[in-house]
Symmetry: C2
Amino acid sequence: MKNISKEDYLRIIFKHKNSDGEIKPNLIAEKLSVSNAAVTDMIKKLSHEGYTNYQKYKGISLTNSGETYARNMVRRHRIWEIFLNQVVGIPWDKVHDEANRLEHSSSDELINRLDELVGFPRYDPHGDPIPSKEGKMPKQKKYIALSKLKEGDSSVVVRVNDFDEKFLSYIAGIGIKLNETIKLLEKRDFDKSMLITIKGKQWNISEKLAENVFVEVKK
Amino acid sequence: MKNISKEDYLRIIFKHKNSDGEIKPNLIAEKLSVSNAAVTDMIKKLSHEGYTNYQKYKGISLTNSGETYARNMVRRHRIWEIFLNQVVGIPWDKVHDEANRLEHSSSDELINRLDELVGFPRYDPHGDPIPSKEGKMPKQKKYIALSKLKEGDSSVVVRVNDFDEKFLSYIAGIGIKLNETIKLLEKRDFDKSMLITIKGKQWNISEKLAENVFVEVKK
DNA sequence: TAAAAAATTTAAGTAAGCTTAAATTTAAAT
DNA sequence: ATTTAAATTTAAGCTTACTTAAATTTTTTA
Ligand SMILES: [Mn+2]
Ligand SMILES: [Mn+2]
Ligand SMILES: [Mn+2]
Ligand SMILES: [Mn+2]
């Protein structure tokens, strides 16, 4: 294939498909910042080429071939992220956009070599699982959204949504990162905002923020 | 700008312009594997945007702005090459194509960081000078083509042309690399082929090959 | 220096990947 | 069950970066 746009569509479909393996055009359009019309066009092409299944007005899904291609794109993306973070030394909240471009510009041999250099990690800097060279997905750790915590709960950060760099640098700024402990002190009913503790400091966070940070509750 | 095609045109113009700073459409077309008509089209666009000077049927040259942009592209290309070679461990004869893509997909911040990681080298794995962040070009070492050696001369490899991976892996296979010593034993008049010694082994090489390897004669 | 060859430009056309606007279908709300 | 709203598709059109073929200019060679 070797086509930046198509590769982006496939990776986004893979990442955001629901539990039935389906995704709506609307969501793709939003994630890629293109019009719905552009999505319809592209999905028709991808379906012609055997990467997606498409029926008018129905949910879109990946074929086996599309699934394989997409999983490899996810692998490329996440390996670049972790390589940039661990070897190049770019902060974990800054690697996403760079990886988003590099993922299209490197051979599989290079990706495999980078993977080797960082020691075949199973999760990327945001806690997302990295498919192996053979396409196997590590189990995603169990987690709940930070917004679902009960007052008094202590938790450990397991994953964060990585699509908005502004969001990431904000949470990095208040000390949220993988494996960090977060305790919920208060939750306000009227706007669902929360008061939390990180490394002894207290912070007020919005519901929106809390919905994009995922934690494991500590017993 | 942020446009892969235009960036490739600028880098190629920079690399292959003659001593007057000019280049013919024909050569650009050849280096980029596109038609002459495509070159005319693109040069018109680049000229409109202030990156090149263009008059029908005359040689093409870079403006100040084009020169700056192009030099940065060369920097990106060569830093990727040396990073891939030194940090990632890809053989020097295999880095060119990979760099050719990566050069368009990385921020200046990333390039500067890679530069730092490899210790601000002045030459790439093929002996070509790497422009500094400020755009300063290290002096190119003095050299002559291997094909210009006299029988009996001993020499050191200073630079090799890097545009054909087949060529590079062939010469890498016979032991040619930067700083390697090459001695010319015989040169045949009828086809200009040569018999050389590298690390005690003798090799017959064609004139074509010898024209793409550059050496400094040892006294 | 005239003829032939090569290089360059112009013209016409294509495919990809978008856009906006209008038409159609599906989902949500009353 | 209608009506309204939202999502989706179709239609028409744009830009970019190419192509081939024909016309033009420059360079080379006889
Ligand atoms: Mn991408
Ligand atoms: Mn990530
Ligand atoms: Mn390139
Ligand atoms: Mn090089």
